[in-house]
Symmetry: D2
Subunit: 305 residues, 4 copies
């Protein structure tokens, strides 16, 4: 049995040293963060491994955009699956809008009158939707020449103004972006708006499954990273069944397995389904991703060449 080594904090210490220290605490919270860093580094340095990143939760409003862009730019993420909301908020910022530091106890009726939308304790000006509408109107012909959701999202990334945007970096780095629930988002509303104006345009809902399942099937090994649960996690997990299971897995979530839902399910549950390999290396981190992910990524990044 390996003893618990208590974490020691040195003045001016690096994040990577802190995460190394956390490894000593076993597998309670800190130990799980450290193990996530080790497993993520392993999947990144395994040349045979295709890495799937699933993103849910208010990660762009929560200040994680640059970090996600950084992960995508690192060349280690091969497939990206997101909720529509995170992509919509990425588009907002690419169009020059900000999210704002607000307050969870604010008076929602007052905010509504002031044109402020609340995301727990983050604020957003409702006028972003009008500007987004202008952008989609202007670029609709180009967007409407795409044939599936993935193509559409790359095109969207391509035409966004220059900025450190998640969609733009996916386009530039040729990282396939999947968003099976795209209708459930501000981007979806933009398409609905054009349809309401009489434009003929839609995209096939099942089409992208071919591509993501092929990506899982064709690679020698797969690794999965889940920031939050929801549709992105489950969509990647169902593809893993066709790869005899992922070899590496890191999950960061505030959801719990006890409720039985897919979002909170421990990665080991995937072994029964053939979505994770019995001999795989995986860890569940029970933590707000805006806290755990910066720690893990800073540690992983320090080990990249």
């Amino acid at each position: 049995m390996k003893p618990v080594n208590h974490i020691s904090i040195k003045k001016g210490m690096k994040v990577s040293d802190l995460v190394n220290q956390m490894a000593g605490s076993g597998v309670m919270g800190a130990g799980r963060v450290a193990k996530a860093s080790v497993i993520m580094s392993e999947m990144f340095s395994d040349k045979e491994c295709t890495v799937f990143l699933g993103l849910a939760g208010a990660m762009v409003p929560g200040g994680m955009k640059n970090l996600l862009v950084d992960m995508l730019k690192s060349g280690r993420i091969n497939v990206f699956v997101s909720t529509g909301a995170n992509l919509t908020h990425d588009v907002f910022e690419a169009l020059g809008f900000n999210h704002f530091q607000g307050c969870a106890k604010a008076d929602d009726a007052k905010l509504h009158k002031e044109g402020i939308d609340r995301i727990y304790d983050t604020f957003l000006k409702n006028e972003v939707y009008e500007k987004m509408e202008d952008f989609f109107k202007k670029n609709f012909d180009e967007l409407s020449r795409t044939k599936n959701i993935q193509e559409f999202l790359w095109k969207l990334g391509e035409i966004l103004p220059e900025s450190d945007s998640i969609l733009k970096v996916c386009y530039e780095k040729n990282i396939p972006v999947f968003c099976p629930g795209i209708a459930d988002s501000g981007i979806g509303l933009m398409i609905w708006g054009r349809q309401a104006e009489g434009k003929k345009f839609d995209l096939p809902v099942f089409e992208d499954m071919k591509e993501i399942i092929s990506l899982a099937w064709d690679s020698k090994k797969n690794g999965v990273i889940y920031i939050g649960g929801g549709l992105p996690k489950n969509f990647i997990q169902q593809s893993m069944q066709f790869s005899k299971g992922a070899m590496y897995g890191v999950q960061i979530s505030t959801d719990m397995p006890q409720w039985g839902g897919s979002s909170g399910a421990n990665l080991c549950e995937g072994i029964s389904w053939g979505k994770m390999k019995e001999e795989g290396r995986y860890i569940d981190v029970y933590c707000d991703a805006t806290i755990a992910l910066p720690l893990i990524w800073a540690s992983v990044k320090s080990k990249l060449p």
Copy 2:
């Protein structure tokens, strides 16, 4: 100020009496259950109100199928939005399969060898997927004549064997069923399988938005019931923006607002977005829905004519 009246338990008491008692406890857990029952009854007895039900989480594996069928049969649910998973598990049961009472600590590698899939502490025989495949193969011509996800799901409900199935009751009762994330489910895999066999069939991803937004727009008042969060809640919420906000709302979720995500967001947050009315009546119940929903529904049902 209204005093807290302590809950009194009588031998042989009815569920509706218990929920009435719970009203006395103010707005902690029990009080929230009672308030949810009152608000759900109000929205059901308001003739001008269109009721939208969003369903997420492992509700069919968790034993909630009959209750949901009962709600849908009551004639009070006008629009139904679900995750793909709950519909898939509904199809499993309609095809004659069961979920089983299992164990969360089971050895997942052993389960995998035995062909058992684990959903926390519920089990499922993996062979259901083969039988589902047979069913989809046999009926694919008929299914593939549908033009949007909603039509497809009604057709699926129509052709399912006779049983108390969620999809069948929606078909029989003409309740529109939306499932924007359908690709992320066993049903999605069935379509992928047929496409892989060379069948030409797909469905438009944005098309259904017209219908659900029209339903929200055209009604005098709207009410929302969220069992879990995820895509179904958010998809209904985004439609509510086009109705000047829902007048009634009941949310049952184990997720918390503190993480900032849409699933755990308090209904009042929707006021800032124009998704809920300032003068609306709504309540958030922080509870496993398999516990709170039977209480609430039993109480609401007792008041139905």
Copy 3:
């Protein structure tokens, strides 16, 4: 394998029938409530079993006082361990004060000016402390003749005005009441106040351990019921070590095992410590006790002779 039987709600159904229905859902939330009811009934009907009840969380402000009094009056609870807070709030009510149905979003500075103390969404008039002080001053001589915490609490129960009070029923029914953290409560403040006035009175902190450990040791079998975690649960659990482990256990808590603390620890963890028997019957219910406990108690009560 036992199939999941879906819960059916009948109009006018009894709580006990609902809980029986919940047994069909396996062991997700509803199934756990049903199993808790079965195990609690078993421990109550086992004549050789001594039942220990641990109480934490805002259960008196949350409207659970009558239910707890009912459990204590049933004759099935043999030992009671509480936080100081629940006993203090019980005294408030016995002295004629109420808790009030408030609002979690209230302005705390405004409440403070108005003399209102907030307990999440329940309110309390701060003047109760003055009245409590009068009561303790008046009765201090009698109270100060007691020799240990348990005697003190029985005396307090004895002298409280006639009412359905937790402390009074414990006194009347000769149910030993333990409160090892009594200094951390309004009752503790009352003693501090008298000491500050120059009264010589204190009680031994370790003394009560003899009694509770003897109670655990001397009985043929033990059963434990935990409403919340905290000190009451742990204090009972440490006594169980001296009984070769409890045979029955029911825990209702919103805390989770993943954090490693005693409050959220699953009962099975107690097997490793010798606090629970390997062959014991126990269940963890992950739920707000103000929701789950009324369900469980209504079901258990219906089976009592």
Copy 4:
């Protein structure tokens, strides 16, 4: 309104820089960690402020001992309140024992046979209790000359073998240690064991309240730091009432306000009670303390002279 600045991760960055970056994310998880660091630094640099630290949860088994010793050695913690469990586990380590990195899915019956106690995913050899018994037998005369819990704990710290122990550093640095629930712990069991052998020794349960209330009363300003909730938090909070409220507050907890209990209550609730000042600076961090505390402390420490 202040815009959300997205966190940027630099290779080799320091923890203090990461926490500074987190400030940009507003007040979701990361922003709360950053704000906690700022407020803790403020209370440490305010010469008029007395700092109270409350400790609950499995923090010593979880690898936090060195960090806590470091905080106590910094000279900034003026009063320390702990659960009995953390002090007991500190004594174990001081006597030469380790906690071990275990596994949450371990077979508890097998562990019991092997003499291993499980604390979620951390293990402990049960033989530590025998060694602890030897230590208490050997030193009981000296320990039993103490007159209150605080004196007793200082004496225990004094006689422990040389090591980086929480109790020893409190003794050496003259930091008052309170543990009102001491009976509920392994240390309590040691005293019970001696009493069972016929030794006459006990300690007054209310006595320490004088001291902690005086400490709160006499200082110009107070600051509170809560790692977990439970008895330590509430015991400090009740003392704050006698100081017209704490000026600074940092709480790190996985508990939630929604259940109404004291452990999860937001610090702002204390304003209504007069436990926190309206104009005070405080923050609630919703996170496993083994993850958030190392981040916060590393950042605070970097700013200490």
